[in-house]
Symmetry: none
Subunit: 420 residues, 2 copies
Amino acid sequence: MSVKKALMIIVDGMGDRIVKRYNKTPLEIAEIPNMDRMAKEGLCGLMSPLGLGKRCGSDTAIMSILGYDPYKYYTGRGPLEAAGCGINIDDALCFRCNYASVDRNLVLLSRTADQFNAPKELEDEINKISLPVEFEFRNSLGYRCVLVLRNKNKILSDDISDIYAHEGERVGSIVPKKKFKAWMDLTYVASEDSNAVFTAKVLNDFLRKSNEVLNNHPINIERAVKGEIKANYILPRGGGFKPKMELFYDKYGLKAACISAIGLVKGIGVLTGMEVLKVENATGYIDTDLIAKARSAILALEKNDFCILHIEGTDEVSHDKDAEKKIKMLEKVDKMIAYLMENLKDTLIVVLADHTTSCDYGDHTADPAPFVMWNGDFVPDRVEKFCEREIYKGGLHRIEGKDVMPIILDQINKATKFGT
Amino acid sequence: MSVKKALMIIVDGMGDRIVKRYNKTPLEIAEIPNMDRMAKEGLCGLMSPLGLGKRCGSDTAIMSILGYDPYKYYTGRGPLEAAGCGINIDDALCFRCNYASVDRNLVLLSRTADQFNAPKELEDEINKISLPVEFEFRNSLGYRCVLVLRNKNKILSDDISDIYAHEGERVGSIVPKKKFKAWMDLTYVASEDSNAVFTAKVLNDFLRKSNEVLNNHPINIERAVKGEIKANYILPRGGGFKPKMELFYDKYGLKAACISAIGLVKGIGVLTGMEVLKVENATGYIDTDLIAKARSAILALEKNDFCILHIEGTDEVSHDKDAEKKIKMLEKVDKMIAYLMENLKDTLIVVLADHTTSCDYGDHTADPAPFVMWNGDFVPDRVEKFCEREIYKGGLHRIEGKDVMPIILDQINKATKFGT
């Protein structure tokens, strides 16, 4: 009899290209006996969330993997991050932001203010700023934060540019820009829409005022005294309104839980009505407590049918071009998987990457991401090891994000038959 | 030079999962040297008729394999079965039915009245019932039968529920139900449409009156005396109007023939304008005469370009969870294939399953179905044996139902070139 529940472990940016100085991929180098066992006993494939050759973010990838076509639903990362911070985003224009560092000429010194860990008192100060619309500013994780503008009088627009922000150059302003075709197209044309003009003005106002508040705050004065750069600028990005996503339960009939340290994944959980769990010492980095997350997943699956367990650290160190840390993190993930294989009975375990992140290139690429399912009811393939090269012979061959949930539903016997 | 004709052998539910007590699939266990030879010399792939993870019936699967998108054309199994019985279904609401057995409280004793083999005289008695619309009732094969309501005054509707019928429970009534979104969605909402209300009333009337006729018929009196359960209830399902399918010849320029024991496949043949052949001793079960069917196919291909040869027994015994019988039936199919390989020259032979039916689970699953083509003009792959695990390395990789006819047309040189 087939299993009835499923755990989906999303190892962010796990797949990779060949790391030049090793002539191997991190998955080929790492000691990961448990993932290898999964590959040997399970069914593997390579997944391109949005189709071959399409580079995607974690947000669009995870949406597509859960069956929410991002070309239809995605409105930017802002609303996902904001929802993930627990903010009500109904009828609000939402931005994910960074605490950054600029000099007195607004030249960007660091996009993260040197991995600033923002204290609550800065959040409170910024919320005291006066703007022509109601707003809410919240710290998220580390240097990450969110800004939500309330659209009570329907005078805000998401037809605005992102901010130009490259280290060593002066930060730009936000300008009204008509989003051309669809947001995901990077081509913009100027907008003269009065709501867009107003929205850009409000944001630029916020940037100026928050810069002033932060520059003069004792925390930053003290940092300057210690010779550290100030965390004195808020960089907003990914502005958008709340996406209209169907509830996960209504879509699949599955009670679901979501475990992640980072806002965007928690946001997808919140917006699809999952139970979003908080795990102590889940940091979104390689120092995270994966066994705590695994324990949380095991508990979650006692009362849910489906659980996402998302791990961010692999992607973070890939962006940092640090293959050694990625290999170590993969080995840490493997130990968590051993714990889950041991302690989760009667559950399909799916391990996948949302996308591939190249350590040499330092960003996401469109190479398909490794996928394995284990402990289901299927004919295993002949893959012997969990790595990109071996999974080329995986029995699932190549799949897309949209295929993942149907495959899981079939495995846990929740698929309906079309026809007789 | 490539072959000009093609035979498509549809082995219903041939694919399987691992049968637990053997730790192998039926195809891995069966002695099938001829299919193995086909796999070795031919080109293999795994087919998901409606896409990965989608469970389908034989009706929707075979429609998709022949290039008729079931999401567009399928209106239920009723009209296919009725057309397959040779009934004119123009402007008629059609149901596939079972002769079933109920006790005096209408508790369902057997969905098939213990595999009742219905005699013509019962059909005649039921046709004498008086209903407010013209109708036609016909025995099909064994316990299977069809009911067709003529929609002369356009007062019938297919917005009605199936009948609730679970053994050990009282059978339900048919109620007017608006089919929600698309019919394939299992969620219905109540309908107050007067045609739907009327149609449900006519059907419930039919159920009551046919129950009365059958209960008192000498055949059933005699069965009761012998201690057998009565075949005293008609269970209608899959109600729908005639699907508007383009003729196969108009679509592909191929004269086609169809060989099957079962109504739904014959119905697809009838509705697409194929020559539907009758074969003596084709029973739709494992006792069928496959050599007779093979001879019929060879004859059919003398005057046709394309022939479907459908074999039902493999699916029947999979639903019965009888892996031993499935293995035996596969070996019987293999002997038929030997006969065809020997006697059919200059013909592409395609052997495929419409879907996978798991012997352990007893129903269709979404695992992809094995596919091989042989005696064509292509570069063979390195598959050595005809079984699910080996076909993971098939050169066609994974295909969908819609890909099958284009591949065949290319092989028999009937494909047109797009561009120059």
